[in-house]
């Protein structure tokens, strides 16, 4: 079984190598299919490995294998250690499964791009990095995967590097993620100092030794990493911008896999987090505030991909609430279903954009229901799942999280519950605002002009793009049935062993109650959306010009987070650097904080150049002063 896991890990790496070496010699389509088949093979291996794991008794399902020790000193050892258990299996299936579908989709999506082979290589690289992240059995390797994932995301966001906005977005993502990486690295370092080990086994065994403060600080630092990677408050501003990248990337990285790494990290490290209850509460609060805030912002966005991006942020916030309440299974369950419906939503959006020749503004869409019926159907499934309507998948998993809050029955639990329900309302509104504005409302002049032409050319889209959408639609519709309260309990029984300290599980009654309330609220949201957006007459202009226009503007500016960062970091540094303005290499990094920091240090660097003026007498003078100073220093100390 471990061999299969190894093969899963290595396959994408082989893909990268082959594409890097032979890539330019292969025809683009062949390269695309090659990369996709690699992913299919990886998925098959992962699935078989998971099946074998499932046949084992629960207590033997945790496999740790030390393949190769890289560095060891005393108690401390780091190397290629593999960790395979129930949680890893879920992640593995999501990554390789959704990854495969998106690879196939990319063949169609990128078919006109001359660089599509490079794109495929990057995609494989990303999958490899993600696999390293989830398969690692120690935090250092996890950090390596964490960093690699960030790097591949950077490469893929900035894939179209003749697009200045894409480059800027890539840098923003890179820097935000770098902050997270530093936090994570510091956290790992702290754990190493406190416990002398970085392996999961070691940390889980020794976590009890930590005082609450120690555990809290370590967890807080890990949380910084998780928050940055998962685009949660306050390091979330990169995610909407990252939508400048190609759509398959948005689906794979910025919806289904990478951004969920933070949730994975918290769930994985649950034996540690359990010792830091305050941090867990903080996670819930971050989640609740984040899900409401991003839900609100999503309502006013006009770019189709950005709406979905904010909804991603909001859904991951739900997962945060889940793991923060120690209902790990619910968080991971939502991660699982979310991977289907969010990838579906993105891919569907990609098809719509494709059909509209690259238009992303929903105000220029409308009435596509008739021209694009298949896409409409799939998108509807995704929207119902996202809005948490029973019996679509998202309903089960989200309600599982909320009912966990009900079950906990503390202040935090109630905050989570009420906040979550409020979020469900918002989800219904923004999701169906999108659906209504894209598919129902009277077609915009642009759509009327472009669509017939486009349909004539390639129907609703090439089959490589449509089939992945269908498959995902099946998943989005039925994945929730794995865990029907009171009937099936695949998810809870599967994930139970990963939390040795137990996890929160709602009663069947609480579950059904939440499902009832959740679905009702979701339907109310849909109703509101219908009322506001489905018909031309009551356009959002009313709100924009009415009493709520200040709020509306604030939401349009995404509650000023970006402006806050700009004013507190970018601008001062820009001022400082124009004050110190010199000839530092401008082409290297244009994002102001780095640019400015570079200039600031360059200012100090230049003060060295004053001495280092090339005149040998001057050098000898410094040397002489050094001699005099050294003698004086030692005499004073020695006396």
């Amino acid at each position: 079984m471990t061999e299969l896991v190894w093969i899963t890990l290595v396959l994408p790496l082989i893909g990268v190598a082959v594409l890097a070496i032979l890539g330019m010699k292969l025809p683009p389509r062949a390269a695309g299919w090659f990369a996709s088949l690699i992913m299919l093979a990886a998925f098959a291996c992962a699935a078989i490995a998971t099946a074998i794991l499932a046949t084992r008794p629960a207590e033997e399902r945790q496999v740790v294998q030390v393949a190769w020790t890289w560095l060891s000193a005393g108690n401390f050892s780091v190397g290629l250690d593999l960790w395979f258990d129930e949680l890893t299996a879920v992640m593995l299936l999501v990554i390789t499964g959704v990854g495969f579908l998106i690879h196939v989709y990319s063949i169609g999506y990128m078919k006109d791009d001359p660089q599509s082979r490079r794109f495929m290589a990057y995609l494989n690289l990303f999958v490899f990095s993600m696999l390293v992240l989830v398969l690692s059995a120690n935090l250092v390797l996890l950090l390596a995967g964490w960093g690699l994932v960030g790097l591949s995301s950077y490469l893929l966001i900035g894939f179209w590097h003749n697009k200045p906005k894409a480059i800027k977005a890539a840098k923003k993502a890179f820097i935000m993620n770098a902050i997270g990486d530093v936090g994570l690295a510091l956290g790992i370092f702290l754990l190493f100092v406190d416990l002398g080990t970085v392996s999961y086994t070691g940390i889980f065994a020794e976590a009890g030794r930590l005082s609450e403060t120690q555990a809290s600080v370590a967890c807080l630092l890990l949380l910084v990493g998780a928050v940055a990677k998962s685009a949660q408050l306050p390091l979330h501003t990169w995610l909407p911008d990252a939508m400048e990248g190609p759509t398959p990337i948005s689906a794979l990285i910025h919806a289904a896999t990478m951004v969920t790494a933070g949730v994975y990290l918290i769930a994985r490290m649950n034996p540690l987090f359990i010792h830091a209850p305050k941090v867990l509460d903080l996670i819930v609060i971050i989640g609740v505030v984040g899900l409401i805030m991003s839900g609100l912002i999503a309502i006013v966005q006009t770019d189709i991909k950005r709406i979905i991006a904010f909804s991603t942020m909001s859904q991951i916030a739900y997962m945060f609430v889940g793991v923060g309440l120690t209902a790990y299974w619910a968080g991971i369950f939502h991660l699982f279903t979310h991977a289907f419906f969010k990838a579906l939503l993105f891919l569907g959006a990609g098809l719509v954009i494709h059909a509209l020749n690259g238009e992303q503004d929903i105000r220029n869409m409308g009435g596509l229901r008739k021209q694009l019926p298949k896409i409409y159907f799939c998108m509807m499934i995704a929207a119902f799942a996202l809005a948490g309507i029973f019996p679509f998948s998202g309903g089960f998993s989200k309600d599982a999280i909320l009912s966990a809050g009900l079950n906990v029955d503390t202040t935090i639990g109630w905050i989570a519950y009420i906040g979550g329900l409020l979020g469900a309302l918002l989800t219904g509104i923004y999701t169906f605002r999108l659906i209504f504005m894209v598919f129902h409302r009277r077609a915009s002049p642009y759509a009327e002009r472009v669509i017939p032409e486009s349909i004539k050319h390639h129907g609703e889209g090439p089959s490589t793009m449509l089939w992945p959408v269908y498959i995902l639609a099946i998943g989005a519709a039925f994945a929730g049935l794995l865990q029907i309260p009171g009937l099936t309990h695949v998810v809870t029984s599967w994930l139970e062993p990963i939390a040795p300290d137990g996890m929160v599980e709602a009663t069947v009654g609480q579950d059904w109650l939440t499902t009832l309330i959740g679905t009702t609220i979701g339907l109310i949201g849909i109703g509101i959306a219908y009322h506001l957006y489905a018909r031309e007459s009551t356009s959002p202009e009313l709100i924009r010009n009415g009493r709520g226009r200040l709020i509306h503007r604030a939401l349009e500016r995404r509650l000023y987070w970006d402006d806050l960062y700009e004013w507190s970091f970018e601008k001062p540094v820009q001022w400082a650097s124009s004050f110190l303005n010199r000839d530092v290499d401008r082409t290297a990094f244009r994002w102001a904080p780095l640019d400015g920091l570079g200039q600031l240090t360059a200012f100090f660097g230049r003060s060295f150049a004053i001495i280092e003026n090339g005149i040998v007498r001057m050098y000898a003078l410094v040397l002489a002063l050094g001699i005099a100073g050294m003698i004086l220093f030692l005499l004073v100390r020695g006396a």
Binding site: A144, L623, G626, I627, L634
Partner: protein, 490 residues
């Protein structure tokens, strides 16, 4: 009748081989005009091979004191000998396509062999006298090698600056040794240590001697504020010589520093330890900051090598088994990284020979596309400089900082980390310049003279850097074995 001291010929065979080889090469070359290059490569290579083989043969043997106890052959000496011989061989390879090598190959190679001999002697010195002659043998030869590119004024300038400043450094070292001699009556490290241990260390003459010796050694090491020569000399010297200096000189100077401080002046630790701490902090931060504003890549790496000296100082400050092992490993890894990086720059200069291009950030734009292997190798070397896995540079920095933390010098590790972050700033500038898409052209480069040999050097250095990063075990063991002979009198 004077009783000549017994000489263990096997112990000093590597140096003897080098000196004899240098003589032979010059004499043979005098009679074989026109075959300078071939002779230099063959004889120089053979000499280095013999010398290295002797050193390898003695690896692991019990330490030997010879030449009236003036020279000590232990595994640390052997390690330096082997490393230096390897680096020198790489220098010869790098010189193959160099026009100047065609005309004066024999002199160049002979001087290089003498440098190696001098370095071996410094590494094995047990007294200030031996140290001084060894130091001067390699320093004087290096002054000449720096000025060897007679066509370039910068080269002469570098040689002259190095000579003036280097001589001051040597004088100060001897001056300090004289005071220690006055206080203890001997130039031998062991005698000085025992004498100081007996008499206590409050004597102001001893303090004065310690101060002057420290200055001399910190100068050779290139630590701030005695670093002024480093950037100019590294930039002006022929690139392969720069690569050699950055690696070999630093290694040897640190071995000398460690031997003196730990063998002769352990009783003065309360004096030199704070000096080294201050020097390390200033060096790491200052070297990296100054590198940021450079536009010449050679000079940039020169400044970064100043910073690297700071990391190595941490190894001595921390002292102890782990610290010294880290020191030796770091320096060894650094030597090959620097050699590789300068080999890439040498290749660039060879490519640009007709346009007389310098290795500036601007000049190197998009060059990485034309020479994909060298470009990628450069990226690896820069990552190694910055201390990223999976390179040997990471392991070296990791061990040094790790031991610093566990020995209560966490702040030094933090300073080191800050330095690395600053360092990333300019390493990235090089990488971004190498892969600047906006200047990418499809015009291929013609084969530069000596391209094969340079590529071989780059490949070898790359292999060492990656091997040391991925499977550090063997090299770590070697470093540990060699560094065990430091502080022998503790």
């Amino acid at each position: 009748m004077i009783q000549a001291p017994s000489v263990d010929w096997f112990a000093i065979a590597p140096e003897v081989a080098l000196i004899v080889g240098a003589f032979t090469l010059l004499i043979v070359a005098a009679f074989a005009k026109g075959h300078e290059r071939g002779l230099s490569i063959v004889l120089g290579g053979a000499t280095l091979l013999v010398s290295g083989a002797f050193a390898v043969a003695a690896w692991g043997d019990a330490p030997v004191l010879t030449m009236a106890d003036a020279f000590r052959v232990d595994d640390l000496t052997e390690l330096v000998r082997i490393t230096v011989a390897l680096l020198a061989a790489l220098v010869i390879l790098l010189s193959v396509g160099w026009p100047r090598f065609r005309e004066h190959g024999s002199e160049f190679t002979a001087l290089l062999l003498l440098v190696c001999a001098g370095m071996g002697i410094v590494a094995g010195s047990t007294s200030f006298v031996t140290l001084f002659v060894g130091l001067e043998l390699f320093s004087l030869s290096l002054y000449v090698l720096c000025a060897f590119d007679g066509k370039s004024r910068a080269s002469l300038e570098a040689g002259f600056k190095y000579l003036v400043l280097g001589t001051i450094g040597s004088i100060v070292l001897v001056y300090g040794a004289a005071f220690l001699y006055g206080a203890t009556g001997s130039f031998m490290y062991d005698d000085i240590a025992t004498s100081l241990a007996k008499s206590g260390s409050g004597d102001s003459i001893v303090v004065l001697g310690t101060a002057l010796v420290l200055v001399g050694l910190l100068f050779k090491v290139g630590a701030m504020p005695f670093h002024m020569w480093v950037p100019d000399v590294y930039q002006g010297a022929p690139t392969q010589v720069t690569g050699f200096m950055a690696g070999a000189t630093k290694l040897v100077a640190f071995v000398a520093l460690a031997r003196i401080l730990l063998d002769a002046l352990p009783s003065q630790e309360h004096l030199w330890s704070p000096v080294l701490i201050i020097a390390a902090i200033v060096t790491i931060i200052g070297g990296n900051i100054a590198a940021l504003i450079q536009t010449n890549v050679k000079r940039m790496i020169a400044w970064s090598s100043v910073g690297a000296a700071g990391y190595a100082l941490i190894g001595i400050i921390v002292n102890g088994e782990q610290g010294l092992r880290g020191l030796v490993f770091y320096l060894g890894a650094y030597a090959f990284t620097a050699m590789g990086a300068f080999a890439v720059i040498a290749l660039f200069e060879r490519d640009q020979a007709r346009e007389n291009g310098h290795a500036t950030l601007d000049g190197m734009r998009a060059w990485g596309f034309s020479r994909p292997f060298a470009g990628m190798a450069m990226v690896v070397f820069l990552l190694a400089f910055a201390g990223f896995p999976p390179t040997a540079g990471f392991i070296g920095k990791f061990i040094v900082s790790g031991t610093a933390v566990t020995n209560g010098y966490a702040y030094l590790a933090i300073i080191g980390a800050i330095g690395s972050v600053i360092g990333l700033g300019y390493y990235l500038r090089i990488i971004l310049s190498l892969y600047d898409r906006s200047r990418k052209t499809d015009v291929g480069l013609p084969a530069a003279p000596g391209l094969g040999a340079i590529s071989l050097v780059i490949l070898l250095c790359l292999a060492v850097v990656l091997f040391g990063g991925i499977l550090p075990g063997v090299l770590l063991d070697w470093s540990g074995q060699a560094s065990a002979f430091l502080a022998i009198s503790r």
